[in-house]
């Protein structure tokens, strides 16, 4: 039946060609590491302090290592945008000499020496002569490398709950000798969060919400930082049952779930808004669209487990309960 005879003189060459093509595809596919799914398991920064006020201090970090600081750190390299924000919030920002490329808040953080976030160059870090390097989940594999080079590294897993953020702030306060400032920041945050939740005391079941990360419908499950905020605000995340942290829902699933509020975390990149959402096939009759409750959210704030999460929480609360938060 099949008598399609092919001249195959160039076979080795072509095999090599295919291998090369495959290799390059694999390379591209490896970029998957950058997907939002790279966040860690929900563990609060599990660090305990020992020693009292003053230095030297020894702190056990998330890697189980005992980190000893002989004196208050003066040259800090922070490789996490959230940690950088915390350091500035507790008043020790002037000691941050280097930070990762995504650390852009506050403005002063943007002006420190920059290192890569996903693969920071140890040489660049050494050149800054730091007495403390703060590394987080993303750089876990490199912690040992940095320590072997003689740097003092504090490793902590980034928080995935609001409580976890408080712990991160306390931890960094302890580490830098800013205990009371850290306690103040946490107390201020707690107060604002309490103000939010107390206004929701009468809410039995909040609105169904779809939190859109990309226009092809990646969203957050409950096991993420944002998911935990939504839960705290009593909203019903339509992706609650998804098996991954950052699942991609089918359009049909979103439409069938009929969210009452759509939060657009992708708005700043894509200019999505109520009109574009309403124009999507099948979205026009969704409750959120009919009631014009499609709201843009700045997820730079919401996705960083730092002091500004309360801002994000307030913005989300306003979008979910406009009548309660005028």
């Amino acid at each position: 039946m099949y008598r399609f005879s092919l001249p195959f003189r160039r076979r080795p060459l072509l095999a090599a060609a295919l291998a090369l093509a495959c290799a390059s595809l694999v390379l591209v596919a490896c970029g998957d590491d950058d997907a939002p799914g790279d966040a860690t398991t929900p563990t609060a920064a599990a660090a305990t302090a020992s020693g009292g006020a003053g230095f030297p201090r020894t702190i056990t970090d998330s890697s189980g290592a005992a980190v000893t600081l002989a004196s208050q750190p003066r040259r800090i390299v922070s490789l996490s945008p959230a940690a950088t924000e915390i350091l500035f919030a507790i008043g020790t920002g002037d000691r941050v000499v280097g930070s990762d490329a995504f650390s852009n808040y506050p403005d002063a953080a943007g002006q420190t020496e920059k290192l890569d976030y996903s693969k920071p160059d140890p040489e660049a870090a050494l050149a800054l002569d730091p007495d403390l390097v703060i590394m987080v989940t993303r750089q876990q594999e490199q912690v040992r490398q940095f320590r072997d080079l003689g740097m003092t590294v504090l490793y902590f897993e980034e928080a995935e709950t609001v409580e976890g953020v408080y712990e991160s702030i306390s931890l960094l306060g302890e580490l830098t000798g800013r205990d009371s400032e850290a306690a103040q920041v946490v107390a201020g945050m707690r107060q604002r969060v309490d103000a939010l939740t107390s206004k929701l005391a009468g809410v039995a079941v909040g609105p169904r919400v779809f939190y859109e990360i990309t226009t092809d419908l990646y969203t957050v499950s409950d096991d993420t930082f944002i998911g935990s905020m939504l839960a705290l605000l009593k909203a019903k995340n339509v992706a609650a049952g998804a098996s991954s942290k950052f699942p991609q829902l089918t359009a049909e699933a979103v439409i069938a779930a009929d969210p009452e509020v759509v939060l657009l975390a992708d708005a700043k990149f894509t200019n999505e808004n109520l009109e574009t959402v309403a124009a999507r096939p099948g979205w026009a009759n969704m409750s959120a669209v009919r009631d014009r409750r499609v709201v843009a959210i700045d997820d730079d704030i919401a996705s960083r487990p730092g002091p500004r999460i309360v801002d994000a929480m307030e913005a989300i609360a306003k979008a979910l309960y406009p009548d309660r938060f005028p």
């Binding site: 390059s24 591209v28 089918t250 359009a251």
Partner: protein, 361 residues
């Protein structure tokens, strides 16, 4: 092109009566398969809608058909505005990839050829990446900047590959393939770079690299259709020429075929079809490589029959794999490009084993 003068038809080039007669059966078979898979696709999804109701919604859109249906309004929206365009997009793209893949394999007389051989996929991915990380306004649902730059990238990659491989008026297949690989590597490297440095903003690039029909819309179908149909028509008109090209190039030339010119026309048309498909749905692998082979194994290598059958089977295959993509992790989505390889690979290996196909000596 006077290929009518073929003196002694060989099996693969045969224009005899017996072969011509055998076209109707396979066509009916493949069309039947397509209809069955399409019906399956309409009745499956995250929302539990009774199959009969789903089919009725679609049939009601046809003239002169009125089936009484009592169901929530959202069901009709889901079936007609979400499932139907998605089904059509998967079908159209599957057909386009298989069709252009068959043409590529025919032109290169090489079983490893696929529609991405000359850089269509990597060029499109690069174009899409640039559109995604740039401040250009883009909505996934319309034919915005992402598909536009994807299409431009694909076209540019093929033109570059052809330009580099050309020497004088002729282009050797080997030079073309190598140039295509080199262009693809460069484009993929730049895409990876953008992906690594683009932060959160670059995330949708991954979706493009795996392909998806989650944002299928009527707009996209309507904008893409003219390019697909135009390119496919050109290839269809050259189906006999593809048969002749299966001979040695010298022999084909002796039969009065302008080999260099035919190659340009066929490659341009096939690349246009593939580029449009990739712009519409992202990079979906495997379909363009394997579906033409399967078609050839089952129905033989005459391109006049192979091309339409490959298109029908490609449509069925991609609609079917997209059903899995939508339902395997319901309500989540699995990138369809992953499913095509997971499902298609083992099936293809099985066919290889059972049919012991001729081209793979």
């Amino acid at each position: 092109m006077s290929i009518e003068a073929t003196p002694r038809p060989r099996p693969a080039v045969g224009l005899g009566r017996r072969r011509r007669l055998a076209t109707a059966g396979p066509l009916a078979l493949c069309t039947g398969l397509l209809v069955a898979v399409a019906a399956l696709s309409l009745t499956q999804g995250a929302a539990s809608i009774p199959p009969g109701t789903a089919i009725a919604f679609v049939l009601n859109r046809l003239p002169l058909i009125h089936i009484g249906v009592e169901a929530p309004a959202s069901w009709e929206t889901i079936v007609v505005d979400v499932r139907l365009p998605r089904l059509l997009a998967a079908g159209v793209v599957g057909a386009a990839l298989a069709y252009s893949g068959a043409a590529y394999q025919g032109v290169f007389r090489n079983p490893l050829a696929d529609p991405y051989l000359l850089g269509v996929a990597s060029g499109a991915a690069l174009g899409a990446s640039i559109a995604i990380v740039s401040p250009l306004e883009s909505s996934s649902y319309e034919f915005g900047w992402v598909p536009l730059l994807a299409f431009a990238g694909a076209a540019l990659a093929v033109l570059l590959a052809y330009g580099f491989a050309q020497s004088g008026r002729t282009v050797s297949n080997t030079a073309l393939i190598l140039a295509g690989i080199a262009i693809s590597s460069v484009a993929s490297a730049i895409t990876s770079f953008i992906l690594l440095t683009g932060g959160d903003r670059a995330q949708p690039i991954l979706s493009f690299l795996f392909g998806s029909f989650n944002t299928a819309s009527w707009t996209r179908l309507v904008v893409g259709a003219p390019y697909l149909l135009g390119g496919a028509a050109v290839i269809a008109l050259h189906a006999r020429l593809l048969n002749v090209l299966q001979l040695d190039e010298e022999q084909a030339a002796q039969l009065g075929v302008d080999v260099a010119r035919s190659k340009v026309i066929l490659l341009a048309a096939a690349s246009l079809v593939a580029a449009t498909a990739v712009a519409m749905a992202g990079v979906i692998g495997f379909v363009g490589l394997v579906v033409p082979h399967v078609t050839r194994m089952v129905f033989g290598g005459d391109y006049r029959r192979l091309l339409p059958l490959a298109a029908l089977l490609g449509a069925s295959f991609l609609i079917g794999t997209d059903v899995l993509a939508r339902t395997l992790l319901r309500p989540q989505e699995v990138p369809v490009g992953i499913v095509t390889a997971m499902v298609g690979g083992p099936f293809f290996l099985y066919l290889l084993r059972v049919r012991r196909i001729g081209g793979f000596r």
